[in-house]
């Protein structure tokens, strides 16, 4: 970011397009909330914003960071390097200084941090944040409020819109005891009025893009967006069991659904959760269940039943590092093949993956539509990084998008069969009168069209085909795949899920340096879109980027699937399992490895 603009500007003020600000402290310091305020502010200024945070796995606190990238251009990833580092403690400084780019600004709490005096790569700005906060708040609050003091400093340095910030404080703290809001403002003001000019010789101001005031932007994390997508999709019932990072979805559903006349149950375990959700759906109330890691494994048997009995269901998997208890607070995309194949038997179901926070909303809603239309369980894959990351996006148009749930207990004609071979199952929930009075059975045993057990081999083949064909039908109905960048050329970078941002940013940079590169993010993973084979043929290499292990044979999970389907040796794989999101640099190196630059650019 801080670059010298060619335009004449007031002294000591730099115009910037975007900034990566990393706040490093301990989890109890409230750095998450500074990050949240900054993100919301950016959203209200129609700026792009993306956040990234780590939460310690321990409950009692521990080192934690919150990173905000905000700006007036398109913000696609949380940033490989920080322009600005705020360090509250010595350990924060030591652990994160390597992430600050050369020439970047280090702002530190001089009460706790002593930077290396020899190191002259950065602009170092020490402020006694702890002492001044205690002073501002009257000393009784044991350094609480440091976060707001720091936010005051940042507001000054980045010329943030203080009026809007205060409005956000008011919304957030207005409902609490009066002195809470007063203390917030006291700490903020103390930071804002600190004579920072004495130690820092410049301010920064974001380019203001004229005419940017389009649709109102909303700011939220991925789990919130996903929850709202479920509600927009007509889900009013569900069940779950707590586990990080899925829990915030079930908490929000538990709190929100009663307003909409629905109910969410915290059940005794994941086996019960999925079973109860299936019970709701069987009763005609499209339901959701979800989990992460171990909890998804526990649901697999019942999910197979839902495929067999052809019951609609939405299943959310907020992926985290595996296997087993794994890395509960790190990101990974290692549950893809489990989502597709994880239940026993040939058990087709739908698997979708959200590519960013905004898409969490849209894909959850879409999952509801597909589940209902095809009477099938639909997996929605998100992950740890999307779950807690905050982004701003255009407010969805609910007039067009809201789906009101309906209970379909209309009388069925005499020829109604629950598993009619000639059509996609439209399940009849209990309470439905069947003309002629023969009621349907739903079952996990192989069955005939009426739902009664049948071990007849021909019937098994027919029913197997029925369950498969409706998933294939979904692929027929998909819109053409969207390619960003070059629609033919050297490399097509293929991703799924949250790698969307880093891949997009990489592809932009690669094209800026003259390479012919495209980006395709696959949202529908089972079934895959039908046009991929033809698209792949237009590139010299297809590089599949995913956050999982290369496996026994050297390919990540999606790459394995694509190679199996297309038998195309140009499909290559870039994987990693360090628990962190992809850096632009890493993907650039991956591209270089499959398509060295000197070989192709003449």
């Amino acid at each position: 970011m801080p670059h010298n603009s060619a335009n004449p500007i007031p002294a000591r003020e730099e115009l910037i397009r975007d900034a990566v600000i990393r706040l490093a402290g301990n989890s109890q310091d409230g750095i998450q909330s500074i990050g949240g305020f900054l993100a919301r502010l950016a959203g209200r200024n129609a700026q792009e914003v993306m956040t990234y945070m780590t939460i310690p796995a321990t409950i009692s606190g521990g080192p934690s960071i919150f990173q905000v990238r905000m700006g007036t251009g398109e913000v696609l990833s949380a940033g490989d390097e920080a322009d600005f580092l705020l360090a509250f403690y010595q350990h924060s400084y030591e652990d994160h200084i390597g992430f600050l780019k050369e020439g970047g600004v280090l702002l530190y709490d001089s009460d706790h941090v002593e930077p290396d005096a020899q190191d002259t790569r950065f602009v170092k700005v020490g402020v006694p944040i702890s002492a001044l906060t205690v002073e501002a708040l009257g000393g009784s609050s044991r350094e609480k409020g440091k976060n707001l003091f720091a936010l005051g400093l940042l507001s000054r340095i980045f010329k943030l819109d203080v009026v809007k910030l205060r409005a956000i404080f008011e919304e957030r703290f207005g409902g609490k005891a009066e002195d809470v809001l007063r203390n917030v403002n006291l700490a903020f003001d103390a930071g804002f009025s600190y004579p920072i000019d004495n130690v820092l010789d410049r301010y920064f101001a974001f380019h203001s893009e004229e005419g940017q005031e389009g649709a109102a932007q909303v700011t939220m994390d991925g789990n919130t967006a996903l929850t709202l997508g479920l509600i927009a999709g007509g889900v009013r019932h569900g069940a779950g069991y707590p586990i990080t990072p899925w829990s915030t979805i079930m908490e929000m559903l538990r709190q929100q659904l009663p307003k909409y006349g629905g109910v969410f149950v915290q059940s005794e375990d994941e086996l019960a959760a999925v079973s109860m959700a299936i019970g709701f759906s069987y009763a005609g109330r499209l339901a959701v269940t979800g989990s992460s890691g171990p909890g998804i494994s526990l649901k697999m048997e019942a999910l197979g039943w839902a495929t067999m009995a052809e019951i609609p269901l939405v299943v959310i998997n907020i992926q985290r590092g595996g296997p087993s208890t794994g890395l509960p607070t790190n990101v990974e995309q290692s549950d893809l093949l489990q989502a597709i194949y994880g239940s026993h038997g040939d058990c087709p179901r739908v698997v979708l993956a959200a590519e960013n926070v905004e898409d969490c909303f849209y894909i959850a809603r879409e999952a509801c539509q597909i589940a209902r239309k095809y009477s099938v369980p639909v997996f929605v894959l998100s992950d740890m990084s999307l779950a807690s990351r905050i982004e701003a996006f255009d407010e969805p148009d609910l007039e067009a998008l809201m789906i009101e749930p309906t209970l379909d207990t209309e009388d069925r004609p005499e020829e109604f069969k629950p598993y009619d071979l000639s059509r996609v199952t439209r399940h009849a929930p209990p309470g439905t009168w069947i003309e002629g009075g023969v009621f349907p059975q739903v079952t996990g045993l192989e069955h005939d069209e009426s739902g009664h057990p049948s071990a007849n081999p021909q019937m098994h083949e027919k029913m197997m085909k029925k369950r498969r064909a409706k998933i294939q039908q979904i692929a027929e109905d998909l819109p053409p795949s969207q390619i960003f960048g070059d629609s033919e050329g050297e490399v097509l970078v293929v991703g799924w899920g949250s790698t969307w941002g880093p891949i997009r940013e990489t592809v932009i940079r690669e094209r800026d340096r003259g390479r012919k590169i495209g980006h395709l993010q696959i949202r529908f993973i089972n079934p895959l879109p039908n046009d991929l084979g033809e698209i792949f043929n237009r590139y010299e290499s297809i590089l599949v980027v995913e956050m999982n292990d290369e496996g026994l044979y050297g390919y990540g999970q999606l790459a394995t699937l694509l190679r199996a389907r297309y038998c195309n040796p140009a499909i290559r794989s870039l994987t990693k399992t360090d628990g962190l999101t992809f850096k632009i640099k890493e993907i650039m190196l991956g591209i270089d490895a499959v398509s060295p630059i000197q070989a192709t650019t003449r």
Binding site: G43, E171, A216, Q217, V218, T219, T224, L228, I231, A232, H237, P258, K259, Y260, G261, G262, V263, V265, S267, E268, D269, L271, A272, A273, S275, M276, I278, G279, F280, Y282, A283, G284, R285, A287, A302, W305, E395, P396, L398, M402, E404, A428, P429, P430, G431, T432, W433, I434, E435, G436, G437, V438, F439, P440, Q441, V442, T443, G444, H452, P453
Partner: protein, 302 residues
């Protein structure tokens, strides 16, 4: 229903008969106790005269869990041990349904044992019937949690070591608000228990001793007067059904113990509590439409 229907109606709307309740012919072994459990269910439904399309018959996996195929109501044959959470979802999703769940001792006390405890404490509105034969029937004679010590099964050919689950104690401690015990040879008593359970507002559960003639023959003769046993009923003028300590004392009685209602109490059902919550919350948000409510949340995130 359509009067122009060419084939004779299987069931007629608003008229519930034993005939209209029959479906597939049961696949159980001749002499299996489960036949009587089914017959008593037909008769009870006939007597209760509920709207047939609103009756739901659900089950887990086991010989006993084949039940739904033999009953002409909406039915679901779920997976082993999970019929209770499945049925709880059905019940909680729809207040207009009458939910009955059937299953075996392995299904209910072993693989599904944890669900029993939680369905009990949550007090879902449904009726659960455990057809206890003290053995795994479907998988052909392995030890079940209720197999008595010394019982020779294929997994304990020298005689079972482990102490059996005491079914009544387990059901009572689950928090179930209606707990009864009966015997598959006593049709009238079974019907009485079914009827009281069906009318109970909450989680009602009945253990029925139902003999597996194939793998545990004669197991329940001690409770069958026609086989020289004693079918001793609980005297409800002496036993206070709302007294948990007295119910637990009954559960400790020596084999074959007593039959009848051990325990019954009125507690708010999960169905009621959630419904009240919904009504209170809807009132608090001014009965706004779903779209308005969601728009409000988005507005708060601007």
């Amino acid at each position: 229903m359509s009067t122009a229907s060419p084939s004779p109606a299987k069931a007629e709307r608003g008229v519930l008969t034993k005939k209209s309740l029959q479906a597939d012919h049961p696949t159980w072994c001749p002499g299996c106790g489960d036949f009587a459990v089914l017959a008593a269910y037909y008769k009870t439904l006939e007597k209760l005269d509920l709207p047939q399309q609103n009756i739901v018959t659900l089950a887990g996996i086991g010989c006993s869990s084949r039940f739904p195929y033999f009953v002409n109501t909406h039915g679901g044959h779920f997976i082993h041990g999970r019929s209770l959470p499945f049925a709880s979802g059905v019940s909680l999703g729809r207040d207009d349904l009458h939910v009955f769940v059937f299953g075996g001792d392995g299904d209910g006390f072993s693989i599904g044992g944890n669900h029993l405890d939680h369905a009990g404490r949550k007090n879902f509105r449904l009726t659960y019937v455990i057809m206890d034969n003290f053995v795994y029937g479907l998988t052909k004679k392995q030890t079940s949690p209720t197999s008595p010590q010394g019982f020779k099964s294929k997994t304990d050919p020298w005689g079972v070591f482990d102490r059996p689950t005491n079914p009544m104690r387990k059901l009572l401690s689950s928090g179930a608000t209606f707990v009864a015990r009966t015997h598959a040879t006593q049709i009238r008593h079974m019907m009485e228990m079914y009827e009281r359970a069906a009318k109970h507002d909450g989680f009602s559960v009945i253990e029925i001793l139902s003999e597996c003639v194939e793998f545990n023959k004669g197991a329940f003769d001690a409770g069958n007067p026609r086989k020289g046993g004693a079918f001793e009923l609980i005297d409800e003028t002496a036993h206070d059904v709302s007294d948990m300590a007295a119910a637990l004392a009954l559960a400790e009685e020596a084999w074959p113990g007593k039959f009848g209602v051990y325990y019954e109490t009125q507690q708010p059902t999960k169905n009621r509590l959630e419904k009240d919550l919904v009504e209170a919350t809807r009132a608090k948000v001014g009965h706004k439409s779903d779209k308005e409510l969601l728009a409000q949340i988005f507005a708060s995130m601007r």
